[in-house]
């Protein structure tokens, strides 16, 4: 996809002429900003980017990108993107979606796009709420949450988006935070570089309907203790003073341990982003007992869907030659009348 003759692009090349219409203070701005920063670095001509979204606040994203874009139907972006990417493998196709769009109405398309390993970059803006419809609970809202549609609290249990992705055979799954510019930047790049379906959950603040949903992870005071950054090949250490870590108990259950007092880094789990079972184990870690893992949970490589489809077509052409319509029409039970 990279094109050496491409002119050097900058962030502003990726801003469309449309006014951005999210609420002031919405976390979506930070993500837009970061995406517009990363794209020029990728060496892809601007016209080869396509952003496809569903419906929701986050799904307005394509309007603000000066690329090809498609603001489609609630929940259906992964399906539409699958068609586009399969028909046009040379394009860089990004899906922008929300927790409702991707995990409520669109859950099925998401898991199938991941299963097929279509080379899509899927950015899920998780604000744990329905923003556009003004504040109902979403499939990632915590149990007991009081919202417009759950005045005495949600009776549901939430999905964990990373776990869903792992259950659906994703080849790449990562998590980042809207306002964590550097980490988000790195994760977006990793997602782009991964050949295959890249699923990125972005923890995003909806300051109007669910303000502070991720506060512990974004407030300076609590951030270091509230999150643990996954790094391939490194032990799972976290905390302001990097004095805590994650160990596996003999019953194969994760536990937080303080380093020192006989516990050293070598007792900790060494992260391996190619081990799906480890990724799933980490996805189970939840506050307040555990820090929230961010970074790349899983990155394994396998041929992509569109690649395998293209190979089948190429092989058919190779074997049968370029199809001849007249010959095709004349196949089967035929006869001539004179």
């Amino acid at each position: 996809m990279s094109d050496s003759t491409a002119v050097k692009l900058s962030k502003k090349d990726f801003a469309s002429d449309q006014e951005v219409r999210w609420c002031p203070g919405c976390g979506d701005y930070a993500v837009l900003n970061q995406v517009q920063r990363v794209l020029p670095e990728l060496g892809v001509p601007r016209e080869n980017f396509v952003f496809i979204s569903g419906i929701g606040c986050s799904s307005r994203f394509p309007y603000y990108m000066n690329t090809y874009g498609f603001h489609s139907i609630h929940g259906r972006a992964p399906a539409i993107a699958t068609g586009l990417k399969t028909a046009r493998p040379e394009l860089s196709v990004w899906v922008v979606t929300g927790d409702g769009d991707a995990l409520s109405i669109g859950g099925n398309h998401l898991i199938h796009a991941l299963r097929r390993n279509v080379d899509l970059k899927i950015l899920l803006f998780n604000n744990r709420i329905y923003g556009l419809t003004k504040g109902q609970y979403s499939p990632t809202s915590e149990s007991g949450k009081v919202t417009k549609s759950t005045p005495v609290g949600s009776p549901d249990y939430p999905f964990d988006p990373i776990a869903i992705a792992l259950g659906a055979e994703a080849s790449f799954a990562a998590r980042s935070v809207d306002v964590d510019a550097k980490q988000l930047h790195d994760v977006l790049r990793r997602a782009y570089e991964h050949k295959g379906a890249a699923f990125v959950e972005i923890l995003q603040n909806c300051n109007v309907f669910n303000d502070g949903a991720w506060a512990p992870l974004t407030e300076k005071a609590t951030k270091a203790d509230a999150q643990i950054v996954l790094e391939h090949g490194k032990p799972l250490v976290f905390g302001k003073d990097r004095d805590r870590g994650i160990r596996l108990s003999p019953r194969l259950e994760p536990e937080v341990v303080e380093l020192g007092n006989g516990v050293s880094e070598s007792d900790l789990v060494v992260y391996d982003e190619r081990n799906p079972a480890l990724a799933y184990l980490l996805s189970r870690l939840e506050p307040p007992q555990f820090p929230t893992p961010v970074g790349v949970f899983l990155a394994v490589s396998k041929p992509t869907y569109e690649q395998r489809v293209a190979e089948q077509i190429a092989a058919a052409r190779e074997q049968l030659g370029e199809g001849d319509v007249d010959k095709l029409l004349r196949q089967g039970d035929t006869w001539a009348v004179r």
Binding site: I55, Y63, L91
Partner: protein
């Protein structure tokens, strides 16, 4: 396999030969008895014998219902004649019943005095009971109205294969070829095509080739040698336009039509589909045509199938999505988006008997109003329908052409009867089909996503990847010309009216409507879709009897042809036969304020010619 008419080697006939103008045969047996295959092969033989033909497969919804039960009966009907054939035939002249259940389920359609061939071996106590017979109909005199030919097909087949060392089960599986051989003898069919088919089909096992060939020949020879048959029948070749023919089902024809269209447009073809009876065969067919730059995507559901198709269309492919009624509901939201973003795609609905799951393997025409009005908001799309199995080719081609030319989703309606029915098709030359090469917009100068072609009102089609034309589309109301999101009241109305005008303008693509039968007079019969053959035959029959009856068969349901009001005005009465409770008739009444009356049948079965004739006659007399 290519061969020409009048195959060599027609054996010397010693018995009496009578001539017939047309014959309708129905093969009926258990699902496992291979009746579909037998019927197909017999059809091919008949086509090769120079007859015109029409066929009707009829199989159960269960994959394999318990052997011997009514639910498990599978049948295939062939009409072959020395004149033009329009339908698979109303009542049958010959019924081949491989077991009691097949007899019971099909006897009602056998003409009085008709030929009934039964496989006696299958009339065991147990099978009779399974079919709900207290006594064997072979013994109780209940078949006296028919010419009954009891043949122990099972035993004769097993005997013929005795020395081959096949298992009993394998041997029994050949009995349909025995029956086919026997009937082929009875009607002077050339069996070479079947021999050829057997050789290809079983090429992996020389034993099975031998066994099936032997069964076929044994059946053929049995006809000649047994005392049972005193007479055999000849049906002369029909006066058929010269040319190259093939037998084709509607689904097969539709698939080929799309391939041809994609080539004429110069685009790759993308099919997004989710399997469903009776539409799946289009997916199967296209999945084997990858060398025609065809991509088939078996989606997770119909929504994804439609969505992926629209995505591929956004990418510049010819996007097709196929389904049947239940799946059609699920595509509506995506079609509505297609209407708003004005991208081409074809949605094919192979209608089946509803509502809900209904009778999945039976035919019906009850999805017309859904095609027209099934989406929320004002979202008109062109709707066209195929009339015969081979016409599915042209209808598919035309649907694709209109979609691209007018940048709009187009709905193509066929039905289970067309999809699985076959007819001989005078194969066209690719070069003779109209070209419609697509010119994607590439020039950034003066580009706006919703700047329209003056004549067609189509907006430009731009492939992502084109430098300088980056733009965004979506389901929110769009500003005229710029395509920006707009909540302007006046713009909303303007855009909705433009889209309506765009679809209405397609009327200019419609050739003058051909009127069959009388050009004016008492009754105009207006049909659409798969009822073509039955109506054409009925009108021909009525005209032959001196009635002033005309026939219009609509390919374009939306928009309607511009010359229709004029044609309507030339007849005293309008009859609209449909396999539903009255859908086109509502459209015509609303559109033209004519007192068109419906004729409605909703039994999962096509009209009989005789039903139509009777109804029209009553109307003339009323």
């Amino acid at each position: 396999m290519k061969m020409s008419v009048a195959p060599p080697g027609e054996p010397q006939r010693v018995k009496k030969v009578e001539e017939r103008e047309s014959v309708v045969i129905r093969f009926a047996g258990d699902s496992g008895d291979g009746m579909q295959l037998t019927g197909m092969q017999f059809s091919t033989e008949s086509a090769l014998a120079g007859n015109d033909i029409g066929t009707l497969p009829d199989f159960p919804a269960e994959i394999r219902a318990p052997a011997g039960t009514l639910a498990g009966v599978s049948a295939f009907q062939v009409n072959f004649a020395s004149q033009e054939v329009f339908t698979p035939g109303d009542d049958v002249d010959v019924l081949v019943a491989m077991n009691p259940a097949a007899l019971r389920a099909n006897l009602g359609d056998l003409k009085s005095g008709g030929i009934l061939i039964v496989n006696t071996e299958a009339f065991s106590e147990q099978n009779l009971q399974r079919a709900g017979y207290a006594n064997s109909p072979l013994d109780d005199g209940s078949l006296d109205r028919y010419q009954v030919f009891p043949v122990d097909v099972t035993k004769l087949t097993v005997n013929a294969l005795q020395d081959l060392g096949l298992s009993n089960r394998e041997a029994l599986r050949c009995k349909n070829f025995f029956a086919l051989g026997m009937i082929s003898w009875l009607y002077h069919r050339p069996i070479e095509s079947t021999e050829h088919w057997i050789r290809v089909k079983f090429k992996k096992s020389a034993d099975l080739v031998e066994a099936n060939l032997r069964a076929l020949h044994a059946g053929y020879n049995f006809g000649e040698t047994t005392e049972l048959f005193a007479v055999s029948y000849q049906v002369k070749p029909a006066p058929i336009a010269p040319g190259f023919y093939r037998n084709i089902t509607g689904n097969n024809a539709a698939a080929l039509g799309f391939v041809a269209a994609s080539r004429k447009a110069g685009l790759p073809l993308f099919l997004g589909s989710y399997p469903i009876t009776p539409a799946s065969d289009i997916l199967h067919e296209l999945s084997s045509l990858k060398h025609f730059d065809v991509t088939t995507f078996q989606a997770e559901d119909e929504i994804a199938a439609a969505g992926a198709t629209l995505g591929a269309a956004f990418g510049g492919a010819l996007g097709i999505t196929t389904t049947s009624g239940p799946g059609m509901n699920l595509k509506m939201e995506t079609i509505g988006l297609g209407v708003m973003v004005e991208l081409p795609m074809v949605i094919v609905n192979i209608q089946r008997a509803g509502p809900s799951t209904g009778m999945p393997t039976k035919t019906e025409q009850a999805d017309l109003l859904q095609a027209m009005y099934g989406r929320h908001g004002e979202s008109p799309v062109p709707v066209i329908a195929a009339m015969t199995p081979s016409d599915c080719f042209y209808a598919a081609f035309e649907a694709a052409r209109l979609a691209i030319l007018y940048m709009t989703p187009v709905i193509l309606l066929t039905d289970g009867y067309l999809a699985n029915g076959t007819e001989p098709w005078l194969v066209p030359r690719f070069a003779d089909l109209p070209d419609f090469p697509v010119a994607f917009r590439t020039d950034p100068q003066g580009f706006f996503p919703y700047l329209r072609d003056e004549r067609t009102l189509a907006r430009p089609w731009v492939r992502p990847g084109t430098p300088g034309l980056e733009h965004r589309i979506g389901g929110l109301s769009k500003e005229h010309i710029t395509g920006n999101v707009s909540y302007s009241p006046a713009n909303h109305e303007q855009m909705i009216r433009i889209r309506a005008r765009k679809v209405a303008g397609i009327a200019r693509e419609i050739a003058p409507t051909p009127v069959g039968g009388a050009p004016q007079g008492d009754v105009l019969v207006i049909g659409w879709g798969g009822t073509y053959g039955a109506i054409a035959a009925a009108v021909k029959d009525l005209v032959a009897r001196g009635k002033a009856v005309g026939h219009v068969h609509l390919r374009y349901l939306n928009p309607l042809p511009a010359d229709l009001p004029d044609i309507l005005s030339r007849f005293r009465k309008i009859l609209v036969p449909e396999l539903n409770l009255g859908q086109l008739v509502r459209v015509l009444r609303a559109e033209y304020l004519v007192d068109a009356v419906g004729m409605n049948k909703i039994q999962g079965r096509p009209f009989k010619v005789s039903e139509l004739v009777t109804r029209v006659q009553r109307l003339i007399e009323a």
